[in-house]
């Protein structure tokens, strides 16, 4: 059992290496997982208000739930207005919600598109393994609405927790296609992006809200996102501008 004791010690040490609690007076930003590249770009820029910020990425729904449970966050950027409305209604906001960027849904397929997937219709083919985001996650809700509006019946093999998880399954070749945000598909060289036909496409707005429990620098962060530096960074990663 001495081995077990040693293993337990190793596990506790590993666990202690997790992300910090924000520490000091660091600014904390919660953002939808599809914004990971943009905000990481910004935080690497010394002149940016995001420089040194603690960034946390997850699905918008779980981020909003954490804010409601008292996480000390300055700014939240959600991929779905519903979560922001919920926070405003609960009195967590300090200003009006602002649209900072836009995105569209696309189909991500393997490089070379071996199955010749061209449209949403192809996703219902029985030889196509499809991954989508889980219902309840904004991307999952958008995907479901899009497929329902286009009247297409699909049988996904998995309902992933967020956009990046869907993309990962496509990149690893475990599925043939996944419905993700355009910016996620563009972030990887290992997938090809199939646009959704006009009429069926769904666009998504990213809504930011400055929060009550933060360190007080939320407005500075929001101004930067809406200003030149932020909008250029968003544009570079393929986001539409408000």
């Amino acid at each position: 059992m001495r081995l077990i004791a040693r293993l337990v010690l190793a596990v506790s040490l590993l666990a202690a290496c997790g992300p910090g609690d924000g520490g000091d007076d660091g600014v904390v930003v919660f953002a939808a997982s599809s914004l990971v590249d943009v905000l990481t770009d910004l935080s690497a820029d010394d002149e940016s208000a995001f420089s040194g910020a603690v960034l946390s990425f997850a699905s918008s729904a779980s981020l909003a739930a954490q804010v409601i449970d008292g996480a000390p966050v300055d700014l939240i950027i959600s991929a779905d207005r519903a979560q922001i409305d919920e926070l405003v209604a609960a009195g967590f906001g300090t200003s009006e919600p602002q649209v900072v960027a836009q995105n569209v849904l696309v189909i991500a397929v393997e490089e070379g598109n071996p199955l010749g997937i061209r449209s949403l219709d192809d996703l219902s083919r029985s030889d196509v393994l499809l991954a989508v985001a889980a219902p309840g996650v904004p991307l999952g809700e958008y995907s479901e609405a899009m497929l329902a509006a286009a009247n297409i019946d699909v049988s996904p093999v998995t309902f992933e927790a967020d956009a990046r998880a869907v993309l990962a399954k496509v990149i690893l070749g475990e599925v043939d296609a996944g419905i993700v945000y355009a910016t996620d598909a563009e972030s990887s060289d290992d997938v090809e992006l199939i646009e959704i036909a006009e009429g069926d496409e769904v666009s998504v707005e990213y809504v930011a809200l400055t929060l009550l429990d933060g360190s007080g620098r939320a407005v500075e962060l929001l101004d930067e996102l809406l200003g030149d530096r932020g909008q250029q960074a968003l544009g570079r990663r393929g986001f539409g501008l408000p």
Binding site: L7, A65, A134, P135, G136, T158, F159, A161, G173
Partner: protein, 270 residues
């Protein structure tokens, strides 16, 4: 753990206070969970097909995992404890590494080996048309990978501790090696095997990271209770609390049921 032992030693105040902090640390989250659970809708949750489906899947897969862990883990433990296999230390390290790996890493490793494009998975797909990811067997593979080491280590120390004189006597009397193993060695280490199986079962029941990475999330096939809890947090926090409580109750029932008989055995394995 007789009554006399407890009275003989006077408890130093430092130990007592630190011990109480430790107890509070374990009890507080459970009490808090019980307080926040919307008990009035507990029966609604139990009537919810999706929750029941996840519950059944969790129970079935974790039990199959436990059986497989015993079938393969006991021989492995015997090899580690009793054989002259060269490089036993290395083998033990390799076979138990998965219990200290972050489960998500275990999931990625499983995809790399058994995924559709994995080293072995590709062959399975090309030759037999077998695809593991997103199926119930994938859930079991993920659980087995992270949970079996608990059984192997527990049983190995059981073999190491059990006296070999009876086995030698049996051999002297002409028993075959298999007869000695199945009729003498195994019964002698049964407490360790049961304890290891319980640990493995508990770890398998709670498995999340490797499962969602390797097996994905599909209702009825790969959405186990922990995954259902995680996704419910995204949609309905009350549901998440209820499912969490369900898991606590389930674990508690097993722990209490096994107490007198087997949990003592876990403590007895040193």
């Amino acid at each position: 753990m007789s009554r006399r032992d407890r009275h003989d030693a006077r408890t130093p105040i430092v130990i007592l206070s630190l011990g109480i902090v430790a107890v509070a640390f374990f009890v507080l989250p459970l009490v808090a969970l019980a307080i926040r659970v919307p008990w009035s809708s507990l029966f609604d949750a139990l009537g919810n097909d999706a929750t029941i489906e996840a519950l059944l899947l969790s129970v079935i897969t974790s039990l199959i995992t436990t059986v497989l862990a015993v079938i393969f883990g006991v021989p492995l433990a015997w090899l580690l404890a009793r054989s002259n296999l060269p490089g036993r230390q290395t083998i033990r390290g390799l076979c138990t590494l998965s219990m200290v790996l972050p489960p998500v890493v275990a999931g990625v490793a499983l995809l790399a080996s058994l995924g559709r494009r994995g080293v072995v998975g590709q062959i399975l797909d090309d030759w037999f048309g077998v695809r593991l990811p997103f199926t119930m067997p994938a859930v079991i593979v993920a659980q087995l990978f992270v949970a079996m080491p608990f059984l192997v280590l527990t049983v190995e120390s059981g073999f190491a501790r059990s006296s070999m004189t009876v086995e030698e006597a049996a051999r002297t009397l002409g028993a075959t090696p298999w007869y000695v193993f199945s009729r003498v060695t195994i019964p002698a280490t049964r407490p360790a095997i049961v304890a290891g199986a319980v640990l493995t079962w508990a770890r398998a029941l709670g498995e999340f990271g490797a499962t969602i990475t390797f097996a994905g999330n599909f209702p009825g096939a790969t959405r186990t209770l922990p995954i259902a809890t995680y996704l419910a947090l995204e949609t309905n926090v009350d549901d998440a609390l209820l499912i969490s409580m369900l898991m606590v109750i389930l674990s508690l029932i097993i722990l209490v049921a096994l107490r007198g008989r087997w949990v003592g055995a876990i403590g007895g394995v040193r």
